[in-house]
């Protein structure tokens, strides 16, 4: 039996550089295997563009396994496309219908400037992490393994927060372009663990203030971030960030 193929019409945001004016370009992708991933579909489109001597569509990707957080753009108004708990590299063409028109846009936020086409600069996230999303470790002899006991429930919770891959979908989907879910997840992860506790007071202030200085918006508790997060990180992490901040406001140091 012949393999069923599909055709989709794309409207893709093209922008040659950060300072240039962007616009939508239309492409038609034909003879697609429904089991190819969305990025593989774009690879096919790009092959054709390259053969035709045109500039291929720039987009980020690395692992293509949904674990690295490099990929991501907005498909028909949904970060990473329509499926929940999925990165765009793990989205398959079978989630679309033959003949669909698909609008593809980069993450849009002041703090994520477009570099080219669908590629945005997410250094702002790195700067939020550098501001406090770490545990300082002194040099010297290594501590005994298991010398710090952590309950399974606590480690599970911290792990849920640590699952963040930093893709930026939370910012992209938030009507306020807030980075609260990203920042809250790291603050929560480290605040739960004994290794993170000594620095928790200064960590939360520095990270929250860095998030503000980067120009991200303020959380209105809408929760679309959780709905688009490929790791389904809960906005409970944002509530925890608020408690940590309140604690820091009241602390002596």
């Amino acid at each position: 039996m012949a393999q069923q193929t599909m055709t989709v019409h794309l409207k893709v945001w093209r922008q040659s550089g950060s300072d240039s004016q962007g616009r939508f370009e239309q492409y038609t992708a034909e003879d697609l295997n429904p089991h190819m991933s969305f990025l593989e579909m774009l690879d096919v489109v790009n092959e054709d563009l390259i053969h035709a001597g045109e500039d291929p569509i720039a987009f980020d990707s690395d692992c293509r396994e949904g674990i690295c957080g490099t990929c991501g753009f907005v498909i028909n108004g949904q970060a990473h496309g329509s499926e929940r708990g999925t990165t765009v590299c793990q989205l398959h063409m079978r989630s679309f219908n033959d003949g669909d028109t698909i609008v593809i846009e980069p993450w849009r936020a002041r703090s994520f400037p477009v570099i080219k086409d669908l590629v945005v600069d997410r250094d702002a996230f790195d700067r939020i992490i550098s501001a406090g999303g770490y545990v300082s470790v002194g040099t010297g002899p290594k501590p005994d393994a298991n010398s710090i006991k952590i309950g399974k429930d606590v480690s599970d919770k911290a792990f849920d927060s640590a699952a963040c891959i930093g893709c930026g979908a939370c910012v992209a989907a938030c009507p306020n372009a807030s980075a609260s879910l990203f920042t809250g997840a790291k603050i929560t992860q480290l605040a739960l663990l004994p290794q993170g506790k000594p620095e928790r007071t200064r960590r939360v202030q520095r990270m929250v203030h860095q998030m503000e200085d980067e120009g991200f918006g303020n959380c209105s508790n809408i929760g679309e971030c959780e709905a688009v997060c490929p790791k389904e990180i809960s906005i409970d992490n944002i509530a925890k960030m608020k408690r940590e901040y309140l604690r820091a406001m009241l602390s002596d140091t």
Binding site: M211, D236, L246
Partner: protein, 230 residues
């Protein structure tokens, strides 16, 4: 320790301000409705006027309370507007296809997306409402005798206003905005404070709907009741 000024303008601290002022406003609004339920008593306004006259007994302290309330409103509006402006600036170039909710845990809705719109509408309503019944109580209302003492006939003021279809429509319309504001605000205020657990979240969001409906219907019924039945 975080310098207070920095804290209260930070993304987290500014929502503490919104939240605490929001809770104060909700508490006020509940008390306000409880008092106004006397308008539903079909006795030509005697119960209501008696209740309203009770405020005169508070004396000058009433002004302190009123100024406090005004301050809460001004703070809520001030922080609400600056927050909304910052949020707008955070996405200067908007999407061609606007955010299309993935559902699930999301609370993206007409109510949650438009807090600033419903808020500004409420602000305009408040100016009219305070002029309408608070300022005009001083300058326009006639007097009535309650237990041998002269008090403003607030009921007559209310009754005249709500005999006019324009004012009935205005108040009913304003309460729609109020309902939408509370629908998201009730839950949001607790989440903003960090006073939320994932297990409670759905229940409190549902409770927010109930609170919004009960308060909205309670207030909205007053002009309708007076226009059609009193």
């Amino acid at each position: 320790m975080i310098p207070l000024k920095r804290a209260l303008s930070s993304p987290v601290g500014r929502k503490f301000v919104m939240s605490i002022s929001g809770i104060a406003l909700v508490l006020f609004v509940i008390v306000h409705l409880l008092g106004n339920l006397t308008l539903y008593v079909p006795d030509g306004g005697e119960t209501f006027n008696r209740y309203a006259a009770g405020f005169d007994a508070i004396g000058p302290a009433l002004y302190v309370i009123e100024l406090g309330l005004l301050a809460v409103i001004v703070i809520h509006i001030g922080w609400g507007i600056t927050t909304a402006l910052k949020n707008r600036k955070a996405r200067p170039d908007d999407y061609a296809v606007s955010v299309n909710s993935k559902g699930g845990p999301s609370n993206l809705s007409l109510a949650s997306k438009n807090m600033i719109v419903t808020g500004v509408a409420l602000g305009i309503f408040l100016v009219v409402h305070i002029w309408h019944f608070r300022i005009r109580k001083i300058y326009v209302a006639d007097n009535t005798e309650i237990d041998g003492q002269q008090h403003a006939d607030l009921y007559a003021l209310v009754h005249t206003a709500f005999s006019d279809p324009f004012w009935v429509a205005f108040y009913v319309g304003a309460m729609v905005f109020f309902g939408f504001h509370l629908r998201h605000g009730f839950w949001s205020t607790l989440q903003s404070l960090g006073a939320m657990k994932p297990e409670w979240s759905k229940g409190i969001y549902a409770l927010g709907f109930l609170v919004a409906v009960v308060l909205t219907v309670g207030f909205m019924g007053i002009p309708l009741y007076i226009y059609f039945l009193a």
